[in-house]
Symmetry: C2
Subunit: 131 residues, 2 copies
Amino acid sequence: MQRKDKKPTESELEILRILWDNGPSTVREIHDIISKTKDVGYTTTLKLMQIMTEKKGFLTRAKSGKTHIYSALLTESKAQQGLVDRLLDTAFDGSAMKLVMKALGNRNSSPDELKKIKEFIDQLEKDRDND
Amino acid sequence: MQRKDKKPTESELEILRILWDNGPSTVREIHDIISKTKDVGYTTTLKLMQIMTEKKGFLTRAKSGKTHIYSALLTESKAQQGLVDRLLDTAFDGSAMKLVMKALGNRNSSPDELKKIKEFIDQLEKDRDND
DNA sequence: TTGCATATACGAAGACTTTCGTATATACTT
DNA sequence: AAGTATATACGAAAGTCTTCGTATATGCAA
């Protein structure tokens, strides 16, 4: 359980989210998406991605003609786990239950999702019994 | 659903956590707790709390003799809701289900907690049916 | 009331994040 | 091959967060 790897900032998560959803992309592709909802220059996105690649190791890139194609090295699952763990520690006193209730409380989950969560918990309980 | 209020930083959350758990406290009391696990100067804690009070409105304070007694204005519940909402947006594509599974998956929730969560979901489903 | 212990006030440095202007490189078109 | 469009590289400014040194205020004890 390494607690040492750097956590992506929110701007970085925005970029990672696009890479996770769309797969390997150019700076241009990512910037076009980001700039739909945020007024920011192309070189800003570029710089962020360069830092994420060179300094932080979140991304990797391959040259293709004159452009670079970036891919996420940090997986969605790992990033999520790190962020959830940190949030549990800092804001929920370590109680996953409290966090779960906050997350569900806003009632934006479909009946199907609620059912799946219950099944997931059933499975957890079963696993525990078999230890 | 205002998305404008500032989110506390992690250092600030550390202070808020103590105020939430222990109630109104002096800088000294808070710093004594923080410094058990973190090597940081007294004036650093003081400064953070001053900023949280004067610039961000997270805290309020009352003079008592020569010291100030600080209280949290930002409630635990509001802060948690804001952080969860933001995490959902930035890292989980808005899916509460995914977040819940991450939160439960890696951790050791007690059987009792798991039971309570299921009951909570049952209640949510019941509420929904009665709409 | 003088001095000591302790509190707050203030200012600024250092680190990190975000931003962008400008320079340079590269491919494609004509 | 020269020109244009577009990409990356680089450096630095601006903003925020964290840190702490130093100055100043205040209450209490001798």
